[in-house]
């Protein structure tokens, strides 16, 4: 009865939880810039959530250092379904300039299914909005497929 409404609402209200796995902070400030009045991602319903329990979209930035690996996995587990994982920047995808370091355990794909990758070092805010918007559509599909 409510199924369609719920699935439709899924795309309109994606809440973001942001995990930094050793990023240089470049991607992080760009993500925050997306929420500022200039780019105003809130018009699509995006909102930063304070805890993984509230999140729909988990944004991972940074090259997954060995210290943060365990924490990343634990936090991803704590997000309720349906959830979408988005990687932000080049680091979580390839390791970027950190590749080959003894303390880097990228890519994120090793630990979880990544739905959207936003490439760039750092990605432009427009690209981030585009990526998050795609993630929201995927969220809707995932909700529709859930029983």
């Amino acid at each position: 009865m409510f199924k369609k409404m719920i699935a439709a609402a899924g795309a309109k209200s994606p809440w973001i939880y942001h995990i930094n796995t050793g990023s240089c902070n470049g991607c992080d400030i760009e993500l925050v810039a997306v929420l500022t009045p200039r780019y105003d991602a809130e018009r699509f319903g995006f909102k930063l959530a304070g805890t993984p329990r509230h999140a729909d979209i988990v944004v991972v930035s940074g090259p997954v250092t060995s210290q943060s690996k365990e924490r990343l996995i634990r936090t991803l587990e704590q997000v309720p379904e349906p959830k979408v994982v988005v990687t932000l920047g080049s680091c979580p995808k390839s390791g970027n300039v950190f590749k080959g370091s003894y303390s880097i355990e990228c890519p994120v794909d090793k630990y979880t299914h990544v739905d959207v990758s936003i490439a760039g070092c750092t990605p432009k805010p427009e690209a981030i909005i585009e990526g998050l918007y795609t993630a929201a559509q995927i969220l809707k599909e995932k909700r529709r497929e859930m029983k």
């Binding site: 409510f2 809130e42 930063l48 959530a49």
Partner: protein, 333 residues
């Protein structure tokens, strides 16, 4: 037979107007309006007005994870209790000249009923077993202690103004008095009390700068940290209804009686629907939005306070304002 109709009528009241449906819809609209207005103040487009509705629906579709340290029944029941008690409060507040269950609660009862949703959130958060929630409930409780003092003084001054030398805490009589003598806020001595009340409402509904308890950037939304899915949606719904209840309370305390001159003799089943529409709904809608504007304005231009500053602010500035009103009305200005 008549008692049967009465039961039906009461159920309609409780479910549709001014009960469940009205309170929920109004609350969600107001909450959406709040976000929209802030966005416009910051010169951006902002989310659609229906955004809180989408949020609630989306949360319905999410899983609910109960942490293993949590007390499951209490954890799941708390949001319902909070939300339902707010809806019931809506039934006890007279809307214009009309009140669904007349004379069944006075200001002191309202003051105490207002604590039930807060306690529900505190107990729910406490039951989740998270240390973040522990800090959150502590802050929520200190906030409550902070605003309760000015709130009771505001209520007392209104009651004194309306009741004169006889005792009067009844919301019904306050509304009736305003129909006769114009809004309470028009009397000079009541202006500080109205300002105090406007400063209390943000703390009551957990709006910036008084949202220390649910500070998402420091303590991960405090009591709500472990909530997910439908129960979280109920809490969000409760917060929305709480905004509506508080603005309605402000309207019936301070802004009643503006439309008392208007009279439309259009009846359905013996109820003056035209009057209800103008003096009740439209009047309340406009006043609620005006009240919300005042709160949103504070919200948009301030940053979150620290808990000890919040407590000090309420016990000095806000309590002082309301006390000025009480003393003025007591000596009969």
């Amino acid at each position: 037979m008549s008692s049967f109709f009465q039961i039906i009528e009461n159920i309609v009241k409780a479910m549709i107007f001014p009960g469940l449906l009205y309170a929920t819809a109004g609350g969600l609209l107001l909450a959406g309006l709040d976000r929209k207005i802030i966005a416009r103040m910051q010169r951006r487009v902002g989310p659609p007005v229906l955004q809180p509705t989408y949020d609630f629906l989306k949360l319905c579709g999410k899983e609910t994870i109960v942490p293993h340290v949590a007390n499951k029944p209490v954890f799941l029941a708390a949001p319902f209790v909070g939300y339902v008690s707010l809806v019931v409060m809506m039934l006890l507040i007279p809307i214009g000249g009309y009140s669904a269950f007349s004379g069944k609660a006075d200001l002191i009862v309202i003051l105490y009923l207002l604590t039930i949703p807060a306690v529900a959130m505190i107990v729910g958060g406490s039951a989740s077993g998270s240390p973040f929630a522990g800090i959150g409930i502590s802050r929520e409780m200190v906030t409550m202690m902070a605003y309760e003092l000015p709130l009771i003084i505001v209520f007392l001054s209104v009651a004194k103004l309306v009741g004169g030398d006889s005792m009067n805490f009844s919301l019904q009589d306050i509304t009736a008095w305003q129909e006769q003598n114009g809004p309470v806020i028009f009397s000079l001595s009541m202006i500080p009390a109205a300002i105090a009340m406007l400063l209390i409402i943000p703390a009551e509904v957990g709006m910036q700068p008084f949202d220390v308890a649910e500070a998402e950037t420091e303590i991960c939304e405090g009591p709500l940290v472990e909530y997910s899915g439908f129960p979280l949606g109920m809490f969000k719904l409760g917060t929305a209804v709480r905004i509506f209840v508080m603005t309605s309370l402000f309207t019936s305390l301070f802004l009643g009686g503006i439309t008392s001159g208007i009279h439309i003799g259009w009846t359905v089943c013996g109820v003056y629907v035209g009057d209800l529409l103008v003096r009740g709904l439209i009047h309340f809608a406009i006043c609620a939005v005006i009240t919300l504007l005042c709160m949103t304005f504070i919200h948009a231009i301030t940053a979150r306070l620290k808990i000890e500053h919040l407590f000090k602010f309420y016990w000095t500035v806000v309590a002082g304002l309301s006390l000025i009103s009480l003393i003025l009305v007591w000596i009969g200005v």
